[in-house]
Symmetry: C2
């Protein structure tokens, strides 16, 4: 490249990186040489020298089924991508769905392939989460893993949101209200139960809370069956996700209950499920795209040294009130 432009490597490098102290003519001749030869800087060499890769890893640690079902993940991905792309960083998605993957990803991170990391849906005892924190790589979590402290994270106030929607459900006159909870190994899952409990106060009945590991349709089916079994007179349900709510609604319908007349039901996420339920589902709108954008921004800020690596950022949720309750 230096040869093609007739100038030295140093000057070429300055032009490419837009540094000061380059004359207009030098810049021009380098530019035209670049265009002519179709020159592209070699990333490996640059990374080697600068110890930067200009790539950010997004670690998705989910079992197969959920990865395909959870609409939040896709939205977070796109949000993250938009911010990083604007800052000329490349998003590298790292999927972890086995122990083997877990090791390989850790290795990958140690290898300096990425400058920063975004971790979504970390749960208790997450080895990668711990590894990242231990390595001191700039990182942001989407959702706060219960057992790791001193990290940067973004999320929503699950307690407040769950309490709010449960309260509104109660205001529709429900007396026997249950909850199908999920993912109690994460803050999101636990906090939704806490909010539910807070809203019910003295009326809270632990027997009317069932829980399942996954935020899935099938969990909703199972959970609703259990609840109907325990309390045939149930007239309100808070489902910890829209997918769960969809499963629960199908069971209620099959059991001859009319929604919302006999049983009112509310969900969480405001995903594609919510609008397509019959009737449309009342739910909490979770700003998944914004969470992704914010997480990306926090990692970029750490890279620029503009921000410390700890503390949470909370985004607002809104209740979408529809016909299901």
């Amino acid at each position: 490249m230096a040869a093609a432009s007739g100038l030295s490597r140093g000057t070429v490098s300055r032009v490419i990186n837009g540094e000061r102290y380059v004359s207009a003519e030098a810049r021009d001749s380098v530019m035209s040489a670049i265009a002519e030869v179709g020159y592209v800087p070699n990333t490996a060499a640059r990374n080697l020298k600068t110890k930067r890769s200009h790539a950010i890893g997004l670690i998705v640690h989910e079992p197969h089924s959920l990865f395909l079902e959870d609409p939040n993940i896709g939205a977070i991905l796109l949000g993250t991508n938009s911010v990083l792309s604007a800052a000329d960083y490349q998003l590298v998605s790292l999927i972890v769905d086995s122990e083997r993957d877990s090791d390989r990803v850790a290795e990958y991170l140690r290898g300096g392939f990425v400058d920063g990391v975004i971790i979504i849906s970390a749960r208790e005892n997450d080895p990668i989460g711990r590894a990242v924190v231990a390595m001191g790589i700039p990182a942001a979590f989407v959702g706060h893993p219960p057992d790791i402290d001193g990290i940067a994270y973004v999320g929503i106030d699950n307690v407040q949101a769950a309490e709010a929607i449960t309260t509104r459900l109660l205001h529709t006159g429900r007396r026997r209200v249950g909850m199908i909870a999920s993912a109690l190994d994460r803050d999101s899952g636990r906090d939704r139960v806490a909010g539910f409990r807070a809203a019910l106060g003295d009326a809270f009945d632990p027997a009317l809370v069932v829980d399942y590991p996954l935020y899935s349709y099938d969990s909703g089916v199972e959970g609703m069956r259990r609840l109907l079994d325990r309390a045939p007179d149930i007239d309100g349900v808070f489902a910890a996700s829209d997918a769960i709510a969809a499963g629960a609604m199908d069971v209620l319908r099959a059991a001859g209950r009319s929604i919302p007349k006999d049983v009112g039901i509310v969900g969480f996420d405001d995903s594609a499920w919510a609008l397509r339920c019959q009737p449309p589902l009342s739910t909490v709108r979770q700003p998944a795209g914004d969470l992704g954008r914010m997480a990306a921004q926090r990692v970029l800020d750490q890279l620029d040294g503009r921000e410390s690596a700890t503390g949470g950022t909370f985004l607002e949720t809104v209740i979408a009130w529809r016909e299901s309750a």
Copy 2:
């Protein structure tokens, strides 16, 4: 590292890459030195020297909405990841959702960040597809872009599958059968129409085929309205995707038609939608995970020089016959 083990760089390199001509004791002392120092080979340096990155790019070129909705994409992603992970390659997902992304991704590819590329859902005039072919990077397409030849691709036989399911729909006694088509800028979309036409033979009526750009629920809603408008006596529908079928079914229900009594409907994909429709949807099972795995394998084969870069691989589809027709 060489210092820590007391041996030369060359020997250390041989141990790490598992080459021949290393004595047992040398191997041992290098290994224990690695463990002690927590040594990790520097990827950038290795890439620089070997001109290999051990990463494969997966280019997803979809508008926002579809990326979130299309279950095939997630399944392809996971399938690809499993094969590459087993071969110690890292999957790097590159999301293209703007012109800007398109340029950046092309740059990224040129920069030698990946050794090979998998492109899903390429359409006509796809700039990245063309760029990849022009650069001669080992690549495999999932689905065959209509206007690029001489490439490796994997897919299903859309013509045959569409013909088969339409024929079975006809065997349920339907007389006036329409189709909601989609994505006519891709082979998949065109071929499904061709199969539909072939199954109908003389009974084919162009007025009963409507088409929309996206394989989405909304396309199904729109399309079904149009079809009902044009032919109130319609009694069979072939939807080009399950999401379209779901939209169409909701419209049919709202219009007072019973499924499958008044109208029979079939879809395509066998995605999560199919089982949760009311009634469950008859559809074509598309082996999305296998497509991902196969595409990954074909890229790896090209990297090993075991395979030429052209030709298609077709995977079998199966009809899942349920209650909707």
